[in-house]
C-alpha cells in the first residue's frame, strides 16, 4: 500500500482517467501517456451516440514497454517509434516512411500466407526490433487511432488499416464469411484480428478522414456503408444487406449496406472512397 507520505517527490495521489482508453494519468498531464488522447478536451459524442476518436496533438508522445511513439503532423500524421531494447513492433512493410539503418528487420511467418497472397494482401508482416528508430505513415489524409486494448479483447480490423502493433499483441486474420459479404462488403476477403494478451500493448490504426466509434448493446444494430467500416469487437457481427432504391420490378438500383449487430464497439471512417491499397 502506498500512502501520500511515501510518494516520490512531485507525485500526487490525484489522477485523471483518460476517457478514451481508461488509463490513469498524473493530474498535470496534458495527454494520455498510453494512447495520446488529449486529457483537457471533453469526450466528443454526437447526439446519435457516435464518439469522435481523439485527435492526437502534434508531437504527442505515447509510451509502451520501454519504447515511445511520437505522433507528428496533423494532415497526414506520421508515427515515429523509438524502440527500446528488446521491444519489437510489426507492420505491413509499405507503410515505412524512414528508419535508422541499424534497426533489424525480420519477417513474421504467417499460417495461410499463400491464401493471403492471392487475396492481394501482403502475406509478409515485417517485424522491427529495438533499439532504434523507425517511422510510419499512410497515403492519404486521416487520423491515427490508438486503440484502447485491455486483456481479453479481440478486435477485427479492416484489411490494410492497421499501421503498426507492438509485439505483445497476437495477430491473425479471419476470413470474411459469406459470399455476399466478400463481393459486396467493400473490404475484401480477410480482416485482421488482434487479440490482447495479459501484457498491455499498443495498436495503431490509420483511418481515412475522421474516425468515430459507437458501442452497440446486445442485439442493437446499425447499418454502415461497407467501405466506411474500420474496426469492431469480434463479438459484433457483420452482414451485408441489400437495399432496393427506386420502384419497379427491373428498374431501380440496389445498394449494399453492412448490418452491424452488438454487443460491442464499431469504428467507422468518414472518407470511404477506395484508395489504392497495395
Amino acid at each position: 500500500m502506498t500512502d501520500a507520505a511515501n510518494l516520490p517527490m512531485g507525485e500526487s495521489l490525484e489522477r485523471i482517467q483518460c476517457q478514451w482508453c481508461q488509463s490513469m494519468n498524473p493530474k498535470t498531464a496534458l495527454s494520455c501517456s498510453a494512447c495520446g488522447a488529449p486529457l483537457d478536451i471533453r469526450n466528443l459524442v454526437s447526439e446519435s451516440g457516435w464518439r469522435e476518436a481523439p485527435r492526437i496533438r502534434d508531437m504527442t508522445e505515447i509510451h509502451f514497454s520501454s519504447s515511445t511513439c511520437q505522433v507528428e503532423g496533423e494532415i497526414v500524421p506520421a508515427a515515429e517509434i523509438n524502440l527500446g531494447q528488446g521491444d519489437s513492433i510489426f507492420f505491413e512493410h509499405h507503410v515505412m516512411l524512414w528508419k535508422d539503418p541499424n534497426v533489424p528487420l525480420t519477417l513474421m511467418s504467417l499460417a495461410g500466407g499463400m491464401k493471403r497472397a492471392f487475396a492481394g494482401m501482403p502475406f509478409l508482416i515485417s517485424v522491427a526490433t529495438g533499439p532504434g528508430r523507425i517511422a510510419f505513415s499512410r497515403d492519404a489524409t486521416g487520423e491515427l487511432v490508438v486503440l484502447p486494448l485491455h486483456p481479453g479483447m479481440e478486435l477485427d480490423v479492416r484489411e490494410h488499416a492497421f499501421l503498426l502493433s507492438s509485439h505483445q499483441i497476437d495477430y491473425s486474420f479471419v476470413r470474411v464469411k459469406g459470399l455476399t459479404n466478400i463481393l459486396f462488403g467493400g473490404q475484401g476477403m480477410y480482416m485482421d484480428r488482434f487479440i490482447t494478451t495479459s501484457t498491455p500493448g499498443l495498436l495503431i490504426l490509420h483511418g481515412y478522414g475522421n474516425v468515430f466509434e459507437r458501442r452497440l448493446a446486445a442485439g442493437e444494430s446499425i447499418m454502415v456503408e461497407p467501405g466506411a467500416f474500420l474496426y469492431k469487437d469480434s463479438s459484433v457481427t457483420m452482414q451485408v444487406e441489400f437495399q432496393k432504391l427506386g420502384p419497379g420490378f427491373f428498374g431501380g438500383t440496389t445498394m449494399s449496406l453492412a448490418r452491424m449487430t452488438g454487443p460491442g464497439r464499431v469504428g467507422i471512417q468518414s472518407m470511404y472512397v477506395h484508395h489504392k491499397t497495395e
Binding site: Q70, E72, G73, I75, N82, H94, L97, T106, L107, L124
Partner: protein, 354 residues
C-alpha cells in the same frame, strides 16, 4: 520606422509592413499602387482596409533583430511572421526527438516578400500561394498549378532546353511564366503543405520532380538525372523503374535572392544530416535536399525463418541519404514501383541482410 496603417515597428527600408502587409511609401522611390483585393473575380480594384480578423495587430515589443529558424533571414523582432518565408516567429519549433523538425507553423494569410512583390499563403488544408507581382518581377510555374489570375497579368511560355527529355520523364513540356503587375495564384490538388524556400545568392537546391509550384524569374532552373534506377524482368518484359524519378529539378539563385515554392503531400519534416550521417527514407517521400547530400539505392532483406517463394519479394527498397546537408520528406508517398519484382540490374546500391 513604423507602419502608417497599423503602427507596428518594421525594419528600415522594408517595402511592406510585416504585420498588416501595407506597402511602404518611400520618399525617393515612386509609390507602389495599393494592393487590389485578393479575389478571383475580375472586379474593379477597390482598396480594402486589412481585415482585423486575418491581420492580428500585435503590440510592438522590444526592438531588436531576430533570426528566422526556417530560412535564416535576419528579421525585426517586432514582426510575427518572417517576411522572407512566412514562418511564424517566436513560436517554438517542433522538433521530434529523432531530429526531424516540422515545417514551421505558418499563420493563415501569412505574407512573404520577394523583390518588390509579395506572396500571401492562404488556407491550411490545401494552401494557395497568392502572388502580388510588382511590374519588374515575374514568376514561372507549370501551367496546371495556376488557380486564378488578374486578366492583365501576361502569361508566356518559357523555352526549356532538351524539352523532349522531359516528355519521356512525364514532366511538363513547357514552363509558363507570368510578369507583373497584378495578382496570380497557385495551388495543387492535394491536401498538404506549401514549402517556401528562399534561396540566397549562390545557393542551389535539388527537388524531386512534380513537387515544384512556382519560382521567381531570377532563379535558374535545370534538371539532372537522379541515377537511381532498377531494372526488373518478368518473362520477356524488362522494365526500368525510377524510385525517386528519372530526373530531379535543380534551382539556383545566381546573383539575387530567389523564392521557390513547393507543394508537398501531407506533412513535411526537415532535418540536417551531419557529415557521413546516414538515414533510410522511402524514395517517394523525398521532397528536397542540398546538393551536398548524396543519395543511392539501399536494399534491406529481412531475416526469416522460412526461405519464402520469390526471393525478391522480401526485399525492401530504400533511398539512403548521406550528409552533410539538409533533407526534407513528406508523410504521403506512393508505393515504390518494382519493389516486389525480380530485379536484374540497378544503379549503385548497398544491401543489408538481417
Amino acid at each position: 520606422m513604423f507602419c502608417v496603417n497599423c503602427g507596428a515597428r518594421m525594419a528600415d527600408g522594408a517595402n511592406f509592413c510585416g504585420s498588416c502587409g501595407r506597402p511602404v511609401k518611400h520618399e525617393a522611390a515612386p509609390a507602389p499602387p495599393p494592393p487590389p483585393p485578393p479575389v478571383a473575380a475580375p472586379t474593379p480594384p477597390v482598396p480594402r482596409p486589412p481585415d482585423p480578423r486575418f491581420e492580428p495587430r500585435t503590440p510592438p515589443v522590444a526592438h531588436g533583430a531576430a533570426k528566422c529558424a526556417w530560412c535564416g533571414a535576419t528579421v525585426d523582432a517586432t514582426q510575427t511572421a518572417c517576411p522572407k518565408c512566412g514562418a511564424s516567429l517566436g513560436m517554438p519549433s517542433l522538433v521530434a526527438r529523432s531530429g526531424w523538425a516540422q515545417l514551421p507553423g505558418r499563420k493563415d494569410m501569412a505574407k512573404l516578400q520577394f523583390g518588390k512583390s509579395s506572396c500571401q499563403i492562404e488556407g491550411v488544408y490545401v494552401p494557395v500561394a497568392d502572388m502580388n507581382l510588382a511590374p519588374e518581377d515575374g514568376v514561372y510555374f507549370a501551367h496546371h498549378v495556376l488557380l486564378w489570375k488578374d486578366p492583365q497579368v501576361n502569361i508566356t511560355t518559357m523555352p526549356l532546353k532538351g524539352a523532349w527529355k522531359r516528355m519521356f520523364a512525364g514532366m511538363p513540356l513547357v514552363m509558363t511564366q507570368a510578369q507583373g503587375p497584378g495578382h496570380i495564384a497557385f495551388s495543387k490538388d492535394d491536401p498538404g503543405e506549401l514549402v517556401a524556400l528562399p534561396l540566397q545568392p549562390g545557393q542551389t537546391i535539388d527537388v524531386r520532380e512534380h513537387l515544384f509550384l512556382a519560382a521567381t524569374l531570377n532563379m535558374q532552373y535545370d534538371w539532372f538525372s537522379t541515377d537511381v534506377w532498377l531494372r526488373t524482368q518478368n518473362g520477356d518484359d524488362t522494365e526500368t523503374h525510377y524510385p525517386c524519378g528519372m530526373f530531379m529539378d535543380k534551382f539556383f539563385a545566381p546573383q539575387t535572392p530567389g523564392l521557390l515554392l513547393l507543394h508537398a503531400g501531407g506533412n513535411v519534416f526537415v532535418r540536417q544530416l551531419a557529415q557521413d550521417q546516414h538515414i533510410l527514407i522511402k524514395p517517394t517521400a523525398l521532397i528536397f535536399k542540398d546538393p551536398s547530400v548524396q543519395m543511392r539505392l539501399h536494399f534491406e532483406r529481412p531475416s526469416a525463418m522460412f526461405s519464402g517463394w520469390g526471393y525478391w519479394s522480401n526485399r525492401y527498397i530504400w533511398l539512403l541519404l548521406s550528409g552533410p546537408g539538409r533533407v526534407a520528406i513528406q508523410s504521403v508517398f506512393e508505393p515504390v514501383e518494382g519493389e516486389s519484382r525480380n530485379m536484374t540490374s540497378c544503379s549503385y546500391a548497398t544491401e543489408t541482410r538481417w
